[in-house]
Symmetry: C2
Subunit: 110 residues, 2 copies
Amino acid sequence: MKSPRVLNADALVLIARRFGVLAEPMRLRLLHALFGGEQSVGELVRRTGGTQANVSRHLQTLAHAHLLTRRKDGLQVFYAIADPSIFQLCELVCGSLEKQLAKQAGVFAR
Amino acid sequence: MKSPRVLNADALVLIARRFGVLAEPMRLRLLHALFGGEQSVGELVRRTGGTQANVSRHLQTLAHAHLLTRRKDGLQVFYAIADPSIFQLCELVCGSLEKQLAKQAGVFAR
DNA sequence: AATTTATATGAGCATATGCTCATATAGTAC
DNA sequence: GTACTATATGAGCATATGCTCATATAAATT
């Protein structure tokens, strides 16, 4: 175990923003769809069932946060996961939630 | 590496909520203050410099999300970190942000 | 019971966020 | 050039979120 970080106000704002970017189901949906690799916007629209405008906006949000890379090829734009820590982040949160829900379920399961 | 999870819409909403809880500087401040162990509300008010009302609200939010435990003793209420995955979560995000900022700094540092 | 202390909460305001529709931009094909 | 396709974006609305002030609740003290 490392000693805990000391965090100043600015750092906390940055961290909060990062979490905020991950705090939308559609953005998580997009990240999830990109787990398998680079996809075009159109492909992501099809996969997620969102509107083109909305998907485009969320992709921008993710890209501005440096969680996605953007590559333009002709008419299409391809996005891909830029920050592999996303995978671990999702694993951590999913694991924690699963444990929590299992515990809650246990209250009834006797 | 484990194979990536399959996530349905409900799961994504839960995960998004969890991230949302972490997406406020004051809540991160409170978690950070609790890294060293259980604290009373009053103590947390002093440490964070927030108002009593605001700190109390944020603590509730964190407790409702099962990230904090609540223990009442006489007049005081003590909160503590309930989910140790928080530590790893913060480490991950901090590490990722540091890397990102270092890269951005490098653009100028030549 | 009345007073004091610690915490929680209702109400209201201000700001942020997400969504949609329509339109703009940029690249391709003719 | 014109027409077409893929993506981005401005505007406006609806909802969510956070903050503060005042007040409520709950426990301890006298």
